[in-house]
C-alpha cells in the first residue's frame, strides 16, 4: 500500500444517479479520517435534462490529502463515470495517466448515442488513461439478489457500489458511511440493508480485482486542533448572519427572491425558524430589497440575498437604504454574467456593480468572502459593520464557494468574535435623527414604536441633523461628503491588510473573493520552488484597508488575478494611480493552482 500526499477524485453520472450524495459521503469519511479536503459540486443548468445526455450530467469533486488542501483541485486523478455522457463531459479535465472507473453496463450503443459519441471511445482512452471497467449496475443487482426490492430500486443502489470501490482504492473506513446509511434509511430496513450491501460489494470487488493496481493510503493531515464540520459557503453564510443576530441581540429578517446560486441561503434560514428568524419570500428582488429597508427601519438586522440579475434590480432600493443610512446586508452570490449568463457557473464580475451600480454618489461598504468557511466570518463582519456604521453593506461571494465545501474548524463564539455595538437612540426631547457621532459620522437608529423618537425619513436629500427635506445647495454638498466620509472612516474599524507568501518579494499577486484557495496555494508552491512571491488577498473592498496603498507601493510588480476582465485591477488603478498587471479568466470556472503557478513561474 503506497502513501499518497493528496488525491483528486470526481464522481460523475446522470442527475438521477446520486452523485452528490456519493461525493458527500466520500468527503465526510475522509474528513473524519483526518484528511484535509475541499469539495465542489457541479450541477447541470437544466433541472433534469434528458437521461444520459451531457446536459444532464451531475458531478462532485473531492480533493483530499495528508497535506493542507486549499481548493477542490485542478484535475481529477480519478474519474468515476457512471455513463458515457459523464465521460464525455469530464474527460478533458482528467489528469493524463489518471484512472477512470466506468460503469460498463451503461457503455453501450444507446448510451454512446445519447452522449453524442459517434463511436466507442474506450479503446482510444486506454492508451492515455488507466481504465477500470466494472459492471456496476449489474453487479449491484446481483449483490442484492436476495433483497426484497424490485430491480429498478436495486439498480438505484449502484452509487454505493461505486463508492465502495473508491473506498477500497483509497483505504477509506467503511464505518462512517455505514452508520450514516443506518440513520438515513433506518426507517426502511430493506433499503438500509441494500445500500450497505452495495457499498460492501463494491469494496470487495475492488479488493478482488485489485482495482487500483494497488490501494493507496492517505495519512491524516496535520490540521489545527479543534472540532470540525463540513460546511458549504451558503450554509456558512446563513449561520454567520444567525450568529450576528444572536451576538447583537437583534431580530434577523431576510427578504429574498429565489435565484441560482443564492437560493440556498433562503432555504437554510427558512429551516431555522426556532432561531426567531423571519424569512420573507418576496414577489421579486425589488420587493425583497424594499422589505429589508422596511425591516431595517423597524429595527431588524435586515438581509437580502441574490445573484447578478437580481442584484441589478435591487439598485434603486439599495440606494434608498444608503440615503436613509440604515443598516442592512445585501449578499451577491456571483454567477456567470452578463445578463442571465451562466447561472450555475462561477465568476467575479459583479465587483464594479457593487461599487458603482447606483445613481448619484452612493458609497457603501463592499466585502468579499474567500472560502466556504470564511462565509461565516464575513457574514458576521458584514452585519457588524452595517450595524456599527448605519449603512448598507454588499457582501460578495460566488457560485464556487457558495456550493463548495471545506472542513471548518468550529470557532469559539465567545472569544473569536467581538461584541457588535448597536447604536440605538434613547428616547429624548427634540430628537435629531441625522445628528452624527463626530468620530465616525454615524447617526443613531431610532426604532418606530419608541416614544419621543418620532421622525420621518425619505429618499429626497435631507438636512443634516434634522433629516428634513432640504434643497439647499450647500447642505447637499455637505451630505454627499459626509456620507462618503462616513464610509471612509470604516477603514478604522476593519483589520489591516496582511501579506502572505514572501512579503519581501519584489512581485506580488493580488486576489480577492473565492479565488483565495488556488492563488494562495500557487504562491506557496512558487516560494517553495524558489520563485519569490508575495500575496495580498483583499476581503475588505470598500473602504480598502488603510495600509493597503503603502503595501502595494512596496512592490515592483503587481499582478491582479480575478475571474473577470480586470475589475479589481481597474479599481486599484483608479484609487491609487497604479499600473497593475492583469490576469483574467472568464470561463465560468475557478482558477487552477497550476494556471497561477505557470503564469508567475514562467519568467
Amino acid at each position: 500500500m503506497k502513501d499518497l500526499d493528496q488525491v483528486v477524485i470526481r464522481f460523475s453520472g446522470d442527475s438521477g444517479d446520486g452523485m452528490q450524495l456519493t461525493g458527500t459521503q466520500f468527503s465526510n469519511t475522509s474528513a473524519q479520517m483526518g484528511n484535509d479536503l475541499a469539495t465542489f459540486p457541479d450541477f447541470p443548468a437544466e433541472i433534469r435534462a434528458p437521461q444520459g445526455t451531457v446536459a444532464g450530467v451531475s458531478g462532485f469533486q473531492i480533493h483530499f490529502g495528508a497535506v493542507e488542501i486549499s481548493t477542490p483541485g485542478d484535475e481529477p486523478d480519478v474519474l468515476v463515470a457512471m455513463n458515457p455522457a459523464a465521460l464525455k463531459a469530464n474527460i478533458t479535465d482528467v489528469k493524463k495517466g489518471g484512472t477512470i472507473i466506468i460503469n460498463e453496463d451503461a457503455f453501450n450503443d444507446l448510451g454512446y448515442k445519447k452522449a453524442g459519441y459517434a463511436e466507442e471511445p474506450i479503446t482510444k482512452l486506454e492508451k492515455e488513461y488507466r481504465v477500470i471497467n466494472a459492471k456496476i449496475t449489474s453487479q449491484t443487482k446481483e449483490a442484492l439478489a436476495e433483497v426484497e426490492l424490485d430491480s429498478k430500486s436495486k439498480a438505484r443502489c449502484k452509487n454505493f457500489y461505486a463508492l465502495g470501490m473508491t473506498y477500497f482504492m483509497f483505504s477509506r473506513d467503511l464505518k462512517p458511511t455505514l452508520e450514516w446509511i443506518q440513520i438515513k434509511f433506518g426507517h426502511n430496513k430493506i433499503l438500509s440493508e441494500a445500500n450497505a450491501m452495495a457499498l460492501k460489494a463494491g469494496y470487495h470487488f475492488a479488493d478482488t480485482i485489485e482495482a487500483s493496481g494497488e490501494s493507496y493510503k492517505i495519512n491524516p493531515a496535520t490540521i489545527e486542533k479543534g472540532i470540525y464540520r463540513q460546511i458549504s459557503g451558503n450554509t456558512a453564510l446563513a449561520w454567520g448572519f444567525m450568529y450576528a443576530a444572536e451576538n447583537s441581540g437583534l431580530d434577523l429578517f431576510l427578504g429574498s427572491y429565489p435565484i441560482t446560486p443564492a437560493s440556498d441561503i433562503l432555504h437554510e434560514l427558512a429551516a431555522h425558524k426556532n432561531f426567531n428568524i423571519k424569512t420573507f419570500q418576496a414577489e421579486d428582488e425589488i420587493a425583497a430589497m424594499s422589505s429589508a429597508v422596511g425591516a431595517a427601519y423597524a429595527g431588524a438586522l435586515a438581509l437580502t440575498t441574490s445573484s447578478g440579475p437580481g442584484i441589478a434590480l435591487k439598485s434603486e432600493a439599495l440606494n434608498l437604504a444608503m440615503m436613509l443610512e440604515l443598516p442592512l446586508v445585501v449578499v451577491d452570490v456571483q454567477r456567470g454574467g452578463p445578463s442571465t449568463g451562466l447561472p450555475t457557473k462561477t465568476e467575479q464580475s459583479d465587483l464594479n456593480m457593487a461599487l458603482y451600480g447606483r445613481n448619484g454618489e452612493s458609497p457603501i461598504i463592499v466585502l468579499a468572502a474567500k472560502s466556504p468557511s470564511d462565509c461565516f466570518k464575513m457574514a458576521f463582519e458584514a452585519s457588524r459593520l452595517a450595524i456599527e456604521h448605519m449603512t448598507p453593506v454588499m457582501l460578495l461571494t460566488d457560485g464556487y464557494i457558495a456550493n463548495g465545501s471545506t472542513p471548518w474548524r468550529l470557532p469559539d463564539l465567545d472569544k473569536d468574535f467581538p461584541q457588535i455595538k448597536v447604536n440605538k437612540a434613547e428616547p429624548q426631547e427634540n430628537f435629531l435623527p441625522y445628528k452624527r457621532n463626530p468620530e465616525n459620522l454615524v447617526r443613531q437608529w431610532a426604532i418606530p414604536g419608541t416614544e419621543n423618537l418620532m421622525h420621518r425619513v425619505g429618499g429626497l436629500e435631507k438636512e443634516n441633523d434634522t433629516g428634513n427635506v432640504s434643497y439647499d445647495p450647500a447642505n447637499h454638498e455637505l451630505m454627499v461628503t459626509l456620507r462618503e466620509e462616513k464610509i471612509n472612516k470604516v477603514a478604522l474599524n476593519i483589520p489591516d491588510q496582511k501579506v502572505t507568501g514572501n512579503p519581501n518579494a519584489k512581485r506580488c499577486l493580488v486576489s480577492w473573493g473565492g479565488t483565495y484557495g488556488s492563488v494562495s496555494k500557487a504562491v506557496e508552491n512558487l516560494n517553495k520552488d524558489g520563485i519569490e512571491m508575495a500575496h495580498i488577498h483583499i476581503k475588505y473592498l470598500n473602504p480598502l484597508p488603510k495600509n493597503l496603498e503603502s503595501l502595494l507601493r512596496g512592490f515592483e510588480e503587481i499582478t491582479v488575478c480575478e475571474l473577470n476582465r480586470g475589475q479589481l485591477a481597474g479599481y486599484l488603478n483608479s484609487k491609487f494611480s497604479l499600473n497593475v498587471k492583469k490576469y483574467n479568466k472568464v470561463q465560468g470556472k475557478p482558477f487552477k493552482e497550476r494556471e497561477i503557478y505557470q503564469l508567475m513561474g514562467d519568467l
Binding site: Q32, G34, E224, K225, G226, I227, Y228, R229, Q230, W239, E246, D251, F253, G255, H272, K273, N274, F275, N276, I277, K278, F280, A282, E283, D284, I286, A287, A288, S290, S291, A292, G294, A295, A296, Y297, A298, G299, A300, A302, E316, A317, L320, L324, L410, P411, L413, I447, P448, G449, E451, L453, M454, H455, R456, V457, G458, G459, L460, N468, V469
Partner: protein
C-alpha cells in the same frame, strides 16, 4: 382599540409645512386621515406611514408619527418589512394611481394577496401630478395630457376590480369632498384585520381638474353613486328613489321600494365582484365598503410558525447548531 381617548387630530399633525397646490384634494384627505387616526386612538409613536413617490406620497411628512417617503411604487414592500419586523405598529400606506397602479401594481397586488394587517389609501386623481401631468393607468380613454397630446387610448384599471383580482379582503371607495364619509371609511379600514385598500377619488386641480365631478360634486353625486352599507338595500339617487337589482347577470335600476332590490353584504365575494363591475357608466358607482371578509393575516401565521418551531425545538442557540449533525475532532 382606543388606548388613548384624549388624542386629537392635532396630535397627528407634524411641524412640516404642507406643500400641495392650493385647492388640491389631498388636503381634505390628510385632514380626514388625521382625524380618523385620532379617533382610532393608536398613539402617534405606534403609527408608521409609508409612501412611494408622487404628490400624494408626500403625506408621511405631514403626519406626526414614524414614516417613510420611500421610492416610487415600492411602499407596500417597504411597509411589509416594517410590519413583519414589528406587527404591533399600526401601518398605513399612502400611494397614488401612478405609484400604486403603474410602477407599483405588483406590490399592491401581492400585499393584498398576503393580507398583512395594514391600511392603504390610494389617492386616485387619474393623473401623474408630481411629474406635471401625464396620463395614468386610471385615466379615462381619450385623456389628453403631455404624454398623450392626441388622447390616451388604453382602457383604465378599476382599482376595485384590481383589488378583487388580487383577493383583497377589504376594499372601499370614498371621495375627497365628503370628509365624514372618508373618516368613516378610514375607520372601518383600520378596524378590519387584514389588508384594507381604500380608493379615494381625489381632485388634481392643476392637471386633471373636475375629472371626478359626477361622483364628487355635491350637486350631482347622489345620482351617480350608491352608498353601500352592510345589511342595507342598494338605494341611490338624490331622492333615494332608485335601487339596484341583478337580472340576467346585468344590473338594472328599479324603484327603491322594489322587492328585487339587492341587500348589501360585503362578505359575499360574488356580490362584491359584481359591484366592482359598476363603473358609473353602467350604473351608479358604489361608495363605501364593497368587499370585506375574514382571511388569514400574514404576519400572524408568520409569527405562529416561528413560535411553533421554538415550542418544538426550543429557542435556537448557535453553539448547539455548530455542534449539531456531523462533526469530528482533531487533536
Amino acid at each position: 382599540m382606543s388606548e388613548n381617548p384624549k388624542l386629537t387630530k392635532k396630535d397627528f399633525m407634524s411641524d412640516q409645512e404642507v406643500k400641495w397646490c392650493p385647492g388640491c384634494g389631498d388636503y381634505a384627505i390628510l385632514a380626514a386621515a388625521q382625524s380618523a387616526m385620532a379617533k382610532i386612538g393608536v398613539p402617534p409613536h405606534q403609527v408608521c406611514v409609508v409612501s412611494g413617490i408622487g404628490c400624494s406620497s408626500r403625506f408621511p411628512y405631514y403626519v406626526s408619527s414614524y414614516g417613510m417617503h420611500s421610492i416610487h411604487g415600492r411602499a407596500p414592500a417597504v411597509a411589509s418589512g416594517v410590519k413583519l419586523q414589528n406587527p404591533e405598529l399600526s401601518v398605513w400606506i399612502v400611494t397614488g394611481d401612478g405609484d400604486g397602479l403603474s410602477i407599483g401594481g405588483n406590490h399592491l397586488a401581492h400585499i393584498l394577496r398576503r393580507n398583512l394587517d395594514v391600511n392603504i389609501i390610494l389617492f386616485n386623481n387619474e393623473i401623474y401630478g408630481l411629474t406635471k401631468g401625464q396620463y395614468s393607468p386610471t385615466s379615462q380613454q381619450g385623456t389628453k395630457t403631455k404624454s398623450t397630446p392626441f388622447g390616451s387610448f388604453d382602457r383604465p384599471f378599476s382599482p376595485a376590480k384590481f383589488a378583487m383580482g388580487a383577493g383583497a379582503s377589504f376594499f372601499a371607495r370614498t371621495i375627497d369632498t365628503d370628509p365624514k364619509h372618508m373618516m368613516d371609511v378610514f375607520m372601518q379600514a383600520a378596524a378590519h384585520k387584514g389588508t384594507s385598500l381604500i380608493e379615494v377619488f381625489q381632485n388634481c386641480i392643476i392637471f386633471n381638474d373636475g375629472v371626478h365631478d359626477d361622483f364628487t360634486n355635491r350637486k350631482v353625486r347622489d345620482e351617480h353613486t350608491v352608498r353601500l352599507e352592510e345589511g342595507k338595500p342598494l338605494i341611490y339617487g338624490a331622492d333615494q328613489d332608485k335601487a339596484l337589482c341583478l337580472e340576467n347577470f346585468e344590473f338594472k335600476t328599479i324603484p327603491a321600494d322594489s322587492e328585487k332590490c339587492i341587500t348589501h353584504d360585503p362578505s359575499n365575494k360574488n356580490l362584491a365582484s359584481l359591484l366592482s363591475n359598476l363603473d358609473g357608466h353602467n350604473g351608479p358607482i358604489p361608495l363605501g365598503v364593497l368587499q370585506k371578509f375574514e382571511a388569514p393575516i400574514y404576519e400572524e401565521d408568520f409569527y405562529s410558525q416561528i413560535e411553533a418551531q421554538v415550542a418544538k425545538k426550543g429557542a435556537g442557540k448557535m453553539k448547539d447548531l455548530l455542534m449539531s449533525g456531523n462533526t469530528w475532532k482533531v487533536d
